[in-house]
């Protein structure tokens, strides 16, 4: 394409690329740590295990959404219009796990 040959690409932003790889490193480390916990913390400590896994998942989700999806650098209004509706998910999750435990208590 003749009309496109004159486009001069700008040089690589080293700091930006570095940040991307550091975020990737965090994600890999957290995943590795999850594996470690899956095999070291005994199954009997179910509540502890679930709490740790959920917390680490939220940390990973934060890095993906904030850095990779760039949401951290968007306008506040946009950030909140994406995050606030998630309240419904949390509410539904709590309600349904509670419901499930009640079914379990009746059946067993």
């Amino acid at each position: 394409m003749e009309e496109t040959t004159h486009i001069q690409p700008q040089p690589v932003d080293k700091a930006k690329v570095r940040k991307i790889w550091i975020t990737a490193l965090y994600l890999a480390l957290i995943t590795a740590l999850e594996f470690l916990i899956a095999f070291t913390v005994p199954l009997e400590m179910a509540t502890t295990r679930v709490a740790i896994f959920v917390a680490m998942t939220i940390v990973k989700a934060f890095y993906i959404v904030a850095e990779f999806m760039h949401l951290k650098y968007e306008m506040k209004v946009l950030i909140w219009s994406i995050l606030i509706p998630m309240i419904f998910v949390v509410w539904m999750l709590i309600a349904f796990i509670y419901e499930g435990s009640a079914i379990n208590a009746i059946n067993y």
């Binding site: 890999a28 993906i64 509706p85």
Partner: protein, 239 residues
């Protein structure tokens, strides 16, 4: 004096009155965000239903060493997902799914690098990183196909289907198929979208357009697929 009169006369305008973008994001990017929000609800519905059904079943009580497959309680994932291709009969709990997680995270990284290259109008770099992202997606799909095949054929107890499975209660396999299947479909659509972006980059569409915003929009979708996998990994394979 005239300055005061001027302020009184000019109408008060907020940023929401039109003529500018209050969210400082393009229409396409906003719509992608809101689509992803609705898609997040769909995935949440599946995962929450899984939570409901799982908590309604009996959990396994006892040590991991003494675990045997039974219809009476929900299986522990590290005993179900312990096979790795070419290592038949070797017990490697969660190793293969760990590799799959790593592949998907890496393809997310190459996607951000493609977006970064797009900001610099660097066609060659966008092509390179998009190609790596597509390869990552395809490898992930291949891994999933193998995992499904292994799961369906089973480990000698009759395998798994939607109505019955050798690992635990029928709902266990049903949720495995629905949740990883729905996620796999998203990965597949993502690979198709990534390929379209790659094709347009190679043919110079975005150079002529003057910006690479389409890479960013499809990138959002691709990261979302990775994000969902993070949750599926935790709630299906770890908990």
């Amino acid at each position: 004096m005239s300055a005061t009169a001027h302020t009184i006369d000019s109408p008060k305008r907020s940023i929401w009155d039109g003529g500018q973008s209050p969210l400082k994001a393009s229409y396409g990017k906003l719509m992608m965000w809101f689509f992803l929000l609705s898609d997040a609800f769909t995935f949440s519905a599946l995962l929450i239903t899984y939570g409901l059904i799982r908590s309604a079943h009996q959990g396994y009580e006892g040590s991991a060493e003494a675990f045997v497959f039974s219809q009476d309680y929900w299986p522990i994932p590290e005993k179900v997902f312990e096979a790795v291709p070419f290592l038949h009969g070797v017990s490697l709990p969660l190793v293969f799914v760990g590799i799959m997680t790593f592949i998907l995270i890496m393809s997310s990284v190459t996607m951000v690098l493609a977006v970064e290259a797009g900001h610099r109008m660097d066609r060659k770099d966008v092509e390179k990183w998009m190609l790596w992202t597509i390869i990552g997606g395809l490898v992930f799909l291949g891994c999933q196909a193998w995992e499904w095949s292994h799961f369906i054929h089973g480990v000698g107890g009759g395998g798994a289907g939607l109505a019955w499975n050798e690992y635990g209660p029928p709902d266990f396999a049903a949720f495995f198929f629905f949740i990883t299947g729905f996620h796999g479909t998203h990965v597949f659509s993502g690979v198709v979208l990534n390929f379209i972006i790659y094709y347009n980059t190679v043919t110079g569409v975005y150079d002529r357009r003057g910006h690479y915003e389409m890479v960013e929009k499809v990138g959002l979708y691709w990261h979302f697929v990775d994000l969902v996998w993070v949750f599926v990994f935790t709630f299906f394979y770890l908990v």
